[in-house]
Assembly symmetry: C2
DNA sequence: GTGTACTTTGGAAGCGCTTGCAGCTGTGAG
DNA sequence: CTCACAGCTGCAAGCGCTTCCAAAGTACAC
C-alpha cells in the first residue's frame, strides 16, 4: 500500500506539502497541488484514516446510538443522519443497542469512550444519570433526538402538544368515547415519550371535560403487530366500544385499523383512528396523522453537530423544537350517529 | 485526557507492560495486570482507538454497505451484524447508500479505501465490475449478503429454489391462474434477485405446464405501499383475475393482501397469497411465506469475517447457502371452486 | 537597490499506542 | 553449583500522518 511518502517522491515534493495539498489546508501553490493530486491518483493513494486522526486529533466520525434500526422512526433518523454525514465526509459508526441495557452499557463504556468519535447522536435513549455523565465526560458534542438528555443539545418535537392536537381533532369532530393506545415502556426502557404523549391526551380530554376511561387506555410495543393484538382486545371486548382511537404512533394506528377491520368496523364510519409519525404506510390506510419528519430530524442533528465541531464554539446545549405537520386523511370523521349512551 | 503514560506512572510499570496488560496479549504477571487495570480504572483511561489501530494495523471496525436501512431485509441484517460485531468488540461503520449510485460511488472511493475498516459486508449491492475490483483491491475480507459478488465470499439463499418452491406450493394446491409480483429493478439498481426469483417462478410454471400470463406479471418497489398500488391494478382490472399471487417479498405480499381486501376478496378463499422473507408482520396477516432469517444471515457474515481475520488464513472466497424455512399459514388454500374458464 | 510582507516549502517533532528485542529474574534439571 | 529455559519487563523504534517553525522565494513600494 502506498504511503504519503511514495506520493511525495513521485511528485517531487516534501511529505508536508503533499499533506497540505491533499487535505486542502494551508497554502500550496496550484502547481504543487496539481502534482500531488496526480501522483496520489496514479498510485491509488488515500490518506490513512487512523494516522490522520491520530496526528490531527480529528476523527471525522460520528457515533449514532439507536434503540433499534429495525423500527420506523429510528431507521428514518439514521437515513437522514447518514446522508448528511456522508455529504460532509464523515463516517457514521452505528451502535444498535436493541439487545437491552447491558448492550447499551457496554457500548457506552467500551466503545464511545475510546475517542474514536468526534460527536455522538443519541436517538430516543433513556439514559441513567450516571450514563449521561459518562457521555458528557468525553467532552464531545452530543445531540439527543426524541429523548430528554439533560446537559446535551436536543432535538425534539412537541410531544405533549401534538398529542393534545390529535386528541382535540377527535374531540372537535364530536367524539367523546376516545381510546388511547400508548407506548409500552416496559418492553423497552429507552422511551419516555409514551408518558409525554399520554399527558397531552389527558390534558386535552380534561380541557374538554371528557372522562378518560381506564379500560380504553391500552398499550403496545410501538409495532403494527403489537398494536394489532392490543387493539383486538380493546375492540373485541363485550363491553362498550370507543368511537375513536388515538395511537401514539402510526404503526400502532395501523395495527388498530387492521384489528378494526377484522371486526367488520369501517374506518372512519364506525371508528376514527389517528396516529403520530408520518409513516410511509399512512397513505395506504388513509391515516390521519401528525407528520414528524424523522429524516429531517436526523439531518438537522448532524448540521447542529458539525456547526459546533467546525466553529469550535461550544455554544452550550441548545434545545430545538422540530416542527410537525398535521395531515388529515380519511381515517377520522364524526362519530357514528347511533351511538348514544348504550342504545 | 489520561494517556497510557499516566497509567504506567500511576501503576509503577512501563508503558509496554501496561499496554500488554490492558490488551491481554503477551505475558504479564497477574500482579502487574491487576495494577495496570486498577490504575486505568482510577484514571478513567481507555485506549485510544486510532493510536492502537495505527500501531497495530488492526482496526476492529467493519464497514457495512446497505442499500437502505429503512427496508425490512436490510435493517434486519444490520441488527444481526451489529449484535455479533459488538459482542466481538468491533465497531460497525454504516454506509447507507440509499441516495443512489453516486453515493455508492463516493462511499467506495472516499471512505472504504481509507484503510479504516478491517473488512466489509456488502448487502444486496449490485456493483459494477470496476467497483468490485476496487473493493477487492483493498485486500480486506469482503462478504456479500443476498447479492452476487464475484471474487468475494457470499452468503445467499437459494432464491431460484425458494421461488420455485413457493410457486409449486400454489400449483399443488390446484392453482393455475397464478400472478407473480416481482421486484422493481428500475427503482433501485442494487438488486439482481428479482430476476432470480422470477426465474424460479417461471421454471416451476413451465414444469407444471402452466402458462405464465404476461398481464399477471407485475412489479413493485419491494414496499407494502408500492405493492398495494400495483396489486390494485392487478386485481381491479376488468379482465380475469388470478386466483393466487406469489410476491417476491413479504412486504409486497402484504400490500397485495391489503389491495385484495379493498376489493372485498377474502384471503385465502378468493385469493391465495404467498411471500418470501419471514417478516414480523406475516403473522398478523396469516401470511404463508418462506422464512429467510435475515438477522441470522447478518450474524453469520460477521462470524465468517472474524474467523478469516483472526486466523489470517485467507481461505479464499466461499459461497454459503443459507437455509430457509417454509412457513405455511392461512393465506394460501385451494382455488375457489367456481373458477372455470370464464364461467 | 533595499526593505517589508506575504506566500510557499521542507525539516522534524510529535500524535498515543504496539511490539521486537534484549536483559533480568526465578525455576528445575543435571 | 551451574546451566538452560521460560516468564516478565522495559527500552526504543516505529505506525503514517499533521503541523509548528524557520528558511526560502516572490511581489511590491519606497
Amino acid at each position: 500500500m502506498p504511503g504519503i511518502k511514495d506520493v511525495a517522491e513521485r511528485a517531487g515534493l516534501s511529505i508536508a506539502t503533499v499533506s497540505r495539498a491533499l487535505s486542502g489546508k494551508g497554502n500550496v501553490s496550484p502547481r504543487s497541488r496539481e502534482r500531488a493530486q496526480t501522483a496520489a491518483a496514479e498510485l491509488g493513494f488515500v490518506l490513512s484514516y487512523h494516522a490522520s486522526s491520530l496526528a490531527s486529533g480529528r476523527n471525522h466520525n460520528v457515533g449514532v446510538v439507536v434503540p433499534s434500526v429495525h423500527r420506523w422512526f429510528f431507521s428514518s433518523v439514521v437515513e437522514g443522519v447518514s446522508a448528511t454525514l456522508l455529504d460532509a465526509g464523515y463516517d457514521l459508526t452505528l451502535y444498535n443497542v436493541s439487545e437491552g441495557p447491558d448492550r447499551r452499557h457496554s457500548v457506552l463504556n467500551d466503545f464511545l469512550l475510546r475517542k474514536r468519535v468526534d460527536a455522538v447522536i443519541a436517538v430516543s435513549l433513556e439514559l441513567s444519570e450516571a450514563e449521561i455523565q459518562q457521555l458528557l465526560a468525553i467532552h464531545r458534542p452530543i445531540v439527543g433526538i426524541g429523548g430528554p438528555l439533560p446537559g446535551a443539545s436536543t432535538i425534539r418535537i412537541n410531544d405533549s402538544g401534538i398529542a393534545e392536537a390529535a386528541t382535540n381533532h377527535l374531540l372537535r369532530l364530536g367524539h367523546t368515547r376516545i381510546a388511547h393506545m400508548t407506548g409500552d415502556a416496559s418492553y423497552q426502557q429507552d422511551f419516555r415519550l409514551p408518558g409525554t404523549r399520554q399527558g397531552g391526551f389527558e390534558k386535552a380530554m380534561a380541557s374538554a371535560g371528557v372522562a378518560v376511561r381506564p379500560e380504553w387506555q391500552v398499550s403496545a410495543d410501538f409495532t403494527i403487530q403489537g398494536a394489532y393484538a392490543s387493539a383486538r382486545q380493546l375492540l373485541g371486548g363485550a363491553s362498550e366500544r370507543p368511537t375513536a382511537v388515538f395511537a401514539a404512533s402510526d404503526e400502532m394506528a395501523i395495527g388498530t385499523i387492521l384489528a378494526a377491520r377484522d371486526f367488520g368496523l369501517r374506518i372512519p364510519y364506525d371508528l376514527s383512528v389517528i396516529g403520530i409519525d408520518g409513516h410511509e404506510l399512512g397513505e395506504v390506510f388513509g391515516l390521519t396523522t401528525i407528520d414528524q419528519d424523522a429524516r429531517g430530524q436526523g439531518a438537522l442533528a448532524v448540521r447542529l453537530l458539525l456547526a459546533g465541531l467546525e466553529n469550535a464554539a461550544d455554544g452550550g446545549a441548545t434545545d430545538t423544537e422540530f416542527p410537525t405537520k398535521f395531515v388529515v386523511r380519511s381515517s377520522t370523521s364524526v362519530p357514528p350517529a347511533d351511538v348514544g349512551p348504550k342504545c
